[in-house]
Amino acid sequence: MSLRVIKSSFLTLLQDYGRYGYQHVGLTHSGPLDEHAYLWANRLLDNHYNAAQLEISYGVFAAEFLEDSVIALCGADLRATLGGKSITPWQTYNIKRGDIIEFASPKHGLRAYLAIKGGFKVTETLSSVAAVVRENLGGLNGDGSKVSPGDQIVYEKKAHQMTSRVPEKFIPAYSSSITLRFVPNISVSSAGLDAQAVFQNTPYEVTQNIDRMGYRLSGEPIQVPLEGIVSQGISVGSIQLPKDGQPIVLMKDRQTMGGYPLLGCVTAIDLPLLAQSSPGTKVKFRAVDIDDVESELVIYKKFFNVAA
């Protein structure tokens, strides 16, 4: 049976952990913008880490469950209701056939993750269901489409009930002022030590220019010593410094290559905080040692049973 979409106005996408192994042909990794919330939603349901979910950005989404199951809701609080009653993220809810879930507008954060017991059953295109609108790839029909009214997204009926929630200490605040740790770039492609020093001491604001490819920030412009670099592969979280001196943090749907000087790379564990930040959010950056954040990420991946 399936989830029948009634309303979907902004950006709701099917996402799994991402499309890996295709960067050499120019395909992006995609996957959940807030990996932390996504992984918790699957963990709460004992799903495989790669199980497909809905990433609901900004709200204005409604759907009816056509069969009993259990869902987990994590990430942003988009003023969701289930059967007319308010529900909050970071926990599971038992679903009865005919229940309607509705998301209104952002209260905290921007992107909510709706996972279902066993995951949504969607045919993979190139080893993933991750929908990339720009690449016409993935999603319900394999063509990168957003989720839209009338779509029926299949899941398996699950009769048993469960209640499980994320411990309070793991729930992020999605504050209006965040600090992101980053690994400084020490290569020839770096924007340079002077630029990195200014960068760390500059308060930034998230601009209106944010999407699944990248987040543009604004602050006191940094003088760029070199105009560009020889185009090279780009890691998720990379902080580019284009000619205007305003940094761009690259997200899951980034292009595979880029030619702007680099300041560094936001840590994988901190990047979800930016993904949930709305325009106007204050951002500060703090340089960290790669070995420290590496071991932290290994523990994190093992905790969520992520295989890669």
């Binding site: 050499h24 042909v25 185009s231 991946k301």
Partner: protein, 227 residues
């Protein structure tokens, strides 16, 4: 050559930061060696003009260990350098007619050549696939003859048609799908350059050789080309 860790699970191998054929040969060789020897820990690779970007599996191996394995693989690839892989030349039909070659007259004027001369120079060379990126299947080919090399347009076009062949400085490339773009457009291919339903996905791989064959308008249309 330098191996630099960029993030928890990515590294980049950096070569001399120029676009030249020596880099191309070395990068090709090392990319193949890594693919053949480290595939159990490598998740993704992006070879480019002067670098190879690698995502590795942090759950299986630490950054330090991976860097050591890379060094070893690179050293081994130098030993194997003699084994030359068979060179394949991919031929791409191109219609260079004025209704699709939007910037051909501009390039000809700038280069002080006639339009047929520009076409002849462009189509007589065999190009190397230096990198793939920007968009799925978008292959950066080089090097364009100095005589017809031309910078990108000051203001990019909002929409460049699918299959368009362009020049930017000494690079030439085809847009596999319609997209905004600033390259100087000199022709159009009727071929499908990205196909998600085919096993190969793209016509090109980094390291391939490419030649453009001029075709007539009727041939272009007969091959499924759209004006």
């Amino acid at each position: 050559m330098d191996i630099v860790r960029l993030s928890e699970n990515t590294v980049i191998i950096l070569f001399e930061q120029t676009i030249n054929h020596d880099n191309f040969t070395i990068i090709n060789r090392i990319t193949h060696t890594i693919k053949n020897t480290l595939s159990d820990v490598v998740i993704d690779m992006i070879p480019s003009y002067a670098s190879i970007h690698i995502t590795f599996n942090l759950v299986k191996i630490s950054g330090l260990e991976f860097k050591a394995m890379l060094k070893k693989a690179i050293a081994e690839s130098e030993v194997r350098a003699i084994e030359k892989t068979k060179e394949k030349i991919i031929e791409i039909p191109v219609y260079y007619g004025s209704e699709v070659a939007l910037d051909l007259s501009y390039i000809a004027q700038k280069a002080n050549l006639t339009e047929p001369e520009v076409i002849d120079i462009h189509a007589s060379k065999i190009y190397d696939v230096y990198a793939i990126g920007f968009a799925p299947g978008f292959a950066y080919l080089g090097n364009v003859d100095d005589a017809i090399a031309c910078p990108r347009k000051q203001t990019p076009r909002d929409k460049v048609a699918k299959g368009s062949l362009g020049i930017a400085d000494q690079q030439t490339a085809i847009y596999p799908a319609s997209s905004p773009g600033g390259w100087q457009i000199i022709g159009r291919t009727p071929l499908q350059l990205i196909d998600y339903s085919s096993d190969a996905l793209t016509q090109f791989s980094t390291g391939d050789k490419v030649k453009f064959n001029p075709i007539s308008k009727p041939d272009f249309l007969a091959m499924g080309g759209v004006l």
